[in-house]
Symmetry: C2
Subunit: 327 residues, 2 copies
């Protein structure tokens, strides 16, 4: 099949760009130094490419992602880097599952659900989950009293991922990791899990980096520079033209909008509606022309689609289900 024959909107991945991104990250963080985060692609076919490059450990954000990875035979070491209050679905899996805990309640849920291993999740500055660093040792003891193995700590410096200046990002990452290292000293264990695409080369405290966006990238991460290139766009069809603007059939139901409007090649984007993007093209377009729409945030964008179309030039090489979406 040809790219031009795909019904639009269609999520498209450039095979060579994806391959280059995967290789660049695996060279920087080989084997267990990288724990690829599947939330950014929600696709076991893509995870298998990451596994083929030597990564046997993965990060998940939802129970469904853990279940799907286990079902795909990728369950050697799955970290649910998120708290859950009902771990029964995790406890039933034929896989090695480690879950983040940050409270007595989440420790109790892990134990009650049949999960055997945990990481103590530490708040390193992002106002989200994670215990206070000084509370981590106490929680580790509480987990061990319940019979759980405490593998170490995690602490996601998510508030720093898109800090535009690299030196500033490095300095603030180091400060955040001081907190995580202090907690780790109290908790023990082999694992210090942290980081992401924005800090993968800056975080020298973490034993493993939880990066995901690097594989497909988006316009927000691309602004940081670095070795990863945008590999994902949405193929859209121009459905209406006007002297001042054009409209294509890719709207906010097909795009993660929390990082702002998408980009359209050779155009200034005005706004998105449910099923439309209105934009001012530099050169006139005609109804029926195809355009590339580049999402600002890859993670939700992928989650809104059923499949990834893997292309090389004009050829569609493969179609990968986005099989880890939902909850």
């Amino acid at each position: 099949m040809k790219l031009a024959e795909l019904a639009t909107p269609a999520l498209v991945v450039d095979a060579a760009a994806l391959d280059a991104n995967l290789h660049a990250m695996s060279a920087a963080l080989p084997g267990p130094r990288l724990r690829p985060h599947v939330k950014a692609h929600k696709c076991t076919a893509l995870a298998k490419r990451q596994a083929a490059l030597g990564h046997a450990t993965f990060t998940c954000a939802t129970i469904r992602e853990v279940e799907g990875m286990a079902a795909a035979g990728l369950g050697a070491d799955l970290l649910l880097a998120n708290e859950v209050l009902d771990a029964r679905r995790l406890g039933r899996l034929d896989a090695r599952v480690t879950v983040a805990v940050d409270s007595e309640a989440t420790i109790a849920a892990a134990a009650a659900g049949g999960v055997r291993e945990v990481l103590v999740d530490v708040n390193v500055g992002l106002p989200r989950c994670g215990c206070a660093p000084e509370d981590a040792g106490r929680l580790a003891d509480a987990a061990r009293r319940r019979g759980l193995t405490v593998r170490g700590v995690m602490g996601y410096e998510g508030h720093l991922m898109l800090a535009p200046d690299q030196a500033d990002r490095a300095k603030r990452t180091a400060e955040a990791m001081v907190l995580l290292a202090r907690a780790h000293a109290d908790v023990g264990g082999d694992v210090v899990s942290a980081g992401g695409t924005g800090t993968y080369d800056l975080n020298d405290v973490a034993t493993e980096i939880q990066a995901g966006s690097y594989a497909l990238m988006d316009t927000a991460y691309a602004k940081l520079g670095g070795p990863f290139a945008p590999a994902l766009w949405i193929a859209a069809t121009v459905i209406s033209v006007n002297p001042r603007f054009a409209v294509a059939d890719c709207g906010l139901k097909a795009l993660g909008m929390d990082h702002g409007n998408p980009d359209v090649d050779g155009a200034k984007v005005w706004f998105c509606s449910d099923e439309h993007v209105t934009f001012a093209p530099e050169t006139p377009l005609r109804a029926g022309d195809r355009v590339r729409v580049w999402p600002a945030h890859v993670d939700p964008t992928v989650a809104y689609h059923e499949r990834l179309h893997i292309v090389s030039g004009e050829d569609v090489l493969d179609v990968w289900p986005v099989d880890l979406r939902g909850w």
Copy 2:
């Protein structure tokens, strides 16, 4: 099943509120005066409730929605209120399908795809699809020359739907509808299709109103007042607490974010991450507590979920698949 047993995040619909919304709209716009827009719920089970109240005509935004409605036996009169450049999937359906056209190219596509009926889509002020009003008559003639039946015109005043002042909204809707009426005089046909939940009681030019959001509602439409009450929320679980804030497991992958952050009952929302909402509750919460998250924009929110859970109090009465999502 009980509401408290649902795995979270879960899309929840209050059965009584939905029923009241459906009845209120059907009383205001009986039978063919309303052409319910399915893009706001993407659910044929909900469309059947609308049909049971006397509405046999429906509006769709995507080819998949038209296909799903036809497959569900709701194909008596389906309007795809959107331009397409490849109408072959529409032409194959065992249903009455009318498609919007606004150019020679979309007319040619409709004819080539085997669609038999069209509406001329007129731009009434929203910078999106639709021909210039003075061009509508020429396009109607072009469509008829290709053997298409021109049923009339449509013109969506979408830029006015959320205008906060009702008198202003009424005045500007009337001005927009002057353009549509002028185009209708040139085009002919029985149908003048326009409007939405924000103008359903203000638009007295349209022969039929394309409202959809009224059924489930959202916080943006609720600000307008009127007889429709929010009937849809997302059940979420508090997974982490902190002296200053709490975190629940409903993030931007579960929420249409283009109208801004959701509301959480009794709390001030700080921000959403992929799978989290961070908020400051007025009274302390504990991990494991359930909260209601009210989306700012219903249409994309529903599109990101697999099913609607219909509840009455604490009882889950039914589960309806969101069977019209995707493209």
